[in-house]
Subunit: 133 residues, 4 copies
């Protein structure tokens, strides 16, 4: 069981479904890490000049997912009006980054792995957003 | 002159007005720092139990502003479709955090300073968003 | 299998043992998340005034673990002289935060969970540091 | 006057010299931003393959400076045993990143600007570390 899930199980004040929330937090942390690593492996490819857009989007996606993971981890004074737009921005960033990674997935296995992390994270953000509505 | 401005002046590939962009980056960095510091001073107040919402929002606002500052600092493959929703989410977070800080500004001078940083940052994000449209 | 492990398996340029590295990255991400969540639950406790040191250390530990996770995820131009002091600072922060969380573990189950994440992360950082030596 | 300085002037609990502390926080925020921007401009250079080490170090330096800025901004339960090793790791990272940027400064004006931000930040971290001793 992930620490996100364990923490939520000790937190009687959380009002959102703990399974969904823990899954989203885990997907956000995973995507941040995958994107950080993918940008780094992209940088060492012999076709690095072709990977510029991918590197840029992976760096952005890592930053946005990490911030969203932190915000979503907080239950104090939880307000959909604050969290909602960020989840939406994060889902859009994951979608765009996932598309770019897919464009390189046949050439670079690491981009295929990163695409999967982005898709899973986009999906989780959208499910949490729907649950908050 | 800030480093954001100096860096942009060496970057012939930037397509957005350098003054506006540097001002936004500086406002985002300033707001992230002010919110981190305000959450910390809030925590030491004797009425800390009354400051919970303020602390939570300051922590969120710091995370979102820091991520937005990084994303906006990148000009490679700049795409409004990615940056726009994040700037919007950031402006909304600053607005909400600024409102909460204002509610404590008479009691706590640090909340007044933090409110000002939030207002300036919200305004800068909205101006940049308008310029991208 | 974690994304950290999957990414490393696609990266022929990584020179460090992939199992150890993936375990460390996962422990760092987990600890960053557990500390962010613990600081937030601490904030809602009725004895919040007693939890100030714990909140402060959890926020620090989250920041340091997140930065260390990103740095350790990069294999390009890997240099122990850069990564080593950060891993050491991170292990020390986890140790101190873990001690503080233990002091509250009987009262607050979330601090017990957070202590465990800190201990595991401290241990992983020390093992990676030893492997780099 | 920077927000870091303004926030510290409202904080009667800070025990460190406010001028030195504010200068260090500003130098850390500036360096994080300059490094994020420099990695991005490096990525667009025609000699991007030669810039890999610089990009990697700038990304690391940005992460470490941002985390250190947050940690140093907190005065609650301030403990040199926690903050000291991080300041030392940050100074070392700035030193190494500054050296790498200098190696490209004749070719790339943005690397010269980034080197200056790294040197100023390294110096500020070392001065704060000395004041804490």
């Amino acid at each position: 069981m992930s620490y996100a899930k364990q923490m939520l199980e000790t937190d009687s004040g959380a009002t959102i479904d703990a399974d969904l929330l823990a899954r989203t937090i885990d997907a956000l942390s995973d995507c941040a890490q995958a994107c950080t690593a993918d940008a780094d492996v992209d940088l060492r490819e012999s076709d690095v000049a072709e990977m510029r857009t991918c590197i840029r989007l992976c760096l952005d996606c890592a930053d946005v997912c990490a911030a969203t993971a932190s915000v979503v981890s907080r239950q104090t004074a939880f307000a959909t009006a604050v969290v909602g737009p960020l989840l939406d921005a994060c889902a859009r960033t994951c979608a765009r980054c996932g598309d770019e990674c897919r464009a390189h997935a046949d050439m670079h296995a690491h981009c295929r792995v990163c695409e999967e992390a982005c898709r899973r994270c986009e999906q989780a953000c959208r499910e949490l957003l729907a649950a908050l509505a």
